[in-house]
């Protein structure tokens, strides 16, 4: 089983016991599964040489709920509540990917108003998710108040989602063919007011955390992931963009109404004296993305016009034979749904390509040579949600 231990040269007895050659045995530390900095039930087995991490082995599967197996027995509509529970911090984005996959197979046309509502909601969800990432990241690095400020703002978005869908976290709001409830004018006003206040908040976060010297010292030049490695790992989202590649599905392969909206793709360029691809860049890309999301929501509100919110879908959904691989840009990266249908009422196979799973596999690569505290910073900067890693 533990083939890792075999080829560790450090484990051998040191030749001399004096001076710089003094080496002790590697110490094994288990971080997690109940560690606050692991963002869920991730266990990382760390082999440390004093404070330096020599090897980190993530052990996942503590939250494995056999979601893919469950989906094979449920009808297409019933899968949506299950997809919610993957990345429970960005449930709307997960629903979007799955329902877009089914709609594309069915050939359903989603009404214009539903498309715009979906854009608004998924951008707000991106803000909510990044706020969570920002708050917990600051918390990991020892700052408590940003966490509270972020939750204060996130609460407003959750309140809006609660009014829209009826639930605070697991929405089941995007239906196959459209959305469940219509968005009212009062809610639009609420969103606009929220955005006005939120822009000021973003400036505050920038002063409070991004420009803070202690925070910069903790994150800059830490956990650097080069662009080639990011490609080789198949990293997407803020991790890839933090490494300096302006890849965003919303721009490259526009879905919803992103092709009509004007926005930029923030890239990590070594801002404020950091190295491209380090923790600070990944964090900073998220902060810049929130600014872009605010722009996107503002623009898409203008596109809102009256009309139906759900397209024509038969009562019992039967997909034609075939398979599809659909991917969208979720807050944490590209979520892919590989849906195989054999013409039955239930999917034959649903495979979720989760960005967090991919990003967790980066950890053993960037860990060696870091301090343990820096390793905590690395885990926080890739922003994983264990519900999605384990599925």
């Amino acid at each position: 089983m533990q083939t890792w231990d075999m080829d560790l040269p450090e484990l051998q007895e040191p030749e001399t016991q004096t001076g710089e050659k003094l080496k002790s045995e590697l110490l094994t530390v288990n971080m997690g599964p109940q560690h606050p900095a692991t963002h869920g039930v991730l266990r990382v087995e760390i082999k440390t040489d004093s404070e330096i991490v020599a090897k980190a082995i993530p052990h996942i599967g503590y939250l494995h709920r056999c979601m893919e197996k469950h989906c094979e027995a449920i009808d297409y509509r019933g899968v949506i509540p299950f997809v919610d529970r993957l990345d429970y911090l960005a449930a709307m984005s997960q629903e979007l990917t799955y329902s877009m996959a089914v709609e594309k197979m069915l050939g359903t046309e989603v009404p214009r108003r539903a498309v715009v509502i979906r854009t608004i909601v998924s951008e707000l969800q991106r803000i909510a998710s990044h706020l969570m990432a920002f708050g917990t990241y600051a918390l990991d690095l020892g700052a408590f108040s940003p966490f509270l400020y972020a939750f204060d703002e996130r609460e407003k978005i959750l309140r809006l989602f609660e009014e829209l869908s009826g639930a605070r976290l697991l929405y089941n709001y995007f239906w196959i063919g459209g959305v469940w409830n219509d968005i009212t004018d009062t809610q639009i006003d609420f969103v606009e007011n929220f955005l006005d206040g939120f822009e000021k908040e973003l400036v505050k976060y920038d002063k409070l955390v991004s420009q803070n010297r202690i925070f910069q010292e903790r994150t800059m030049h830490v956990g650097t992931l080069s662009l080639e490695d990011a490609h080789s790992f198949g990293a997407t989202g803020p991790v890839l963009r933090g490494s300096g590649q302006a890849w965003d599905l919303r721009k490259v392969n526009p879905y919803l109404c992103y092709d009509e909206l004007d926005f930029e793709v923030p890239v990590g360029e070594g801002q404020r004296g950091s190295t491209v691809g380090d923790c600070y860049n990944r964090y900073y890309v998220r902060m810049l993305e929130m600014v872009e999301s605010v722009k996107l929501v503002r623009q898409s509100i203008k596109l809102l016009e009256p009309g139906p919110i759900i397209g024509k879908v038969s009562k019992v959904i039967k997909l034609p034979k075939g398979e599809i691989y659909m991917r969208t840009e979720c807050p944490r990266g590209e979520l892919g749904v590989h849906l195989v249908s054999t013409g039955e009422k239930t999917p034959y196979r649903v495979k979720i390509k989760s960005p967090c799973f991919t990003h967790t596999s980066i950890l053993p690569h960037i860990a060696p040579g870091q301090m343990i505290a820096d390793f905590v910073a690395s885990i926080g900067s890739i922003d994983i949600v264990l519900g999605e890693v384990d599925r």
Partner: protein, 192 residues
């Protein structure tokens, strides 16, 4: 565009036998490329060095007659975005095996482990061939269609009878046990 990829594979890899699979007549969805299982390593080497720069995911489907392993490749370059599904079919359900592509892509390590964990496809030359989501000593491969949960795991009963939610069955029994009339009376008394 996939046609170019097919001819590219066939011209560079001798035994790949690549062919394009389009959706069936009354079907829908994406097209994909089918290759020979023996040529997976060579094909991936050819594609990942020239046309694509990232392996997104390795997905697998159990079609009872054969096991299909799908490699989703992508080119993460805004100038030249590409995407492809490369498939291969393994007829041997007892000991399906493929060549590992860990040396070509860092992503393959965990993806292949997951494929092994869920579908039982073993990968030759994999540096760390273990299960990833299930415990190391778990039996069976959950996403196969004929999967049955093992009964005892480390001396513990899996899905013990006392803890299973049998309400569905018990509910039927409860109704059929001859108290149907009682229930009917109760219902009528409530004015239903």
């Amino acid at each position: 565009m996939l046609n170019d990829i097919v001819s590219h594979i066939n011209s560079h890899v001798s035994n790949a036998n690549a062919s394009l699979i389009s959706p069936v007549e009354d079907g829908a969805g994406d097209s994909s490329i089918l290759i020979n299982p023996e040529s997976v390593f060579e094909t991936m080497k050819c594609l990942l060095t020239s046309k694509y720069n990232a392996l997104q995911v390795i997905s697998g489907v159990d079609y009872t007659e054969y096991i299909e392993v799908c490699y989703m490749l992508a080119n993460f370059d805004p100038e030249n975005p590409r995407e492809a599904i490369i498939k291969t079919r393994l007829k041997d359900r007892e000991n399906p095996s493929l060549d590992s592509i860990c040396s070509l892509s860092l992503a393959a390590n965990w993806q292949e482990r997951e494929c092994y964990d869920m579908l039982g496809v073993s990968f030759n030359n994999h540096p760390d061939h273990r299960r990833i989501l299930c415990p190391d000593d778990w039996e069976g491969f959950p996403l196969r269609k004929d999967y049955k949960v093992q009964e005892v795991y480390r001396g513990m009963e899996v899905n013990p009878e006392a803890k299973m939610n049998r309400d569905d069955q018990l509910f039927g029994e409860n109704v059929q046990k001859g108290n149907e009339e009682e229930l009917l009376k109760r219902a009528l008394a409530r004015g239903l």
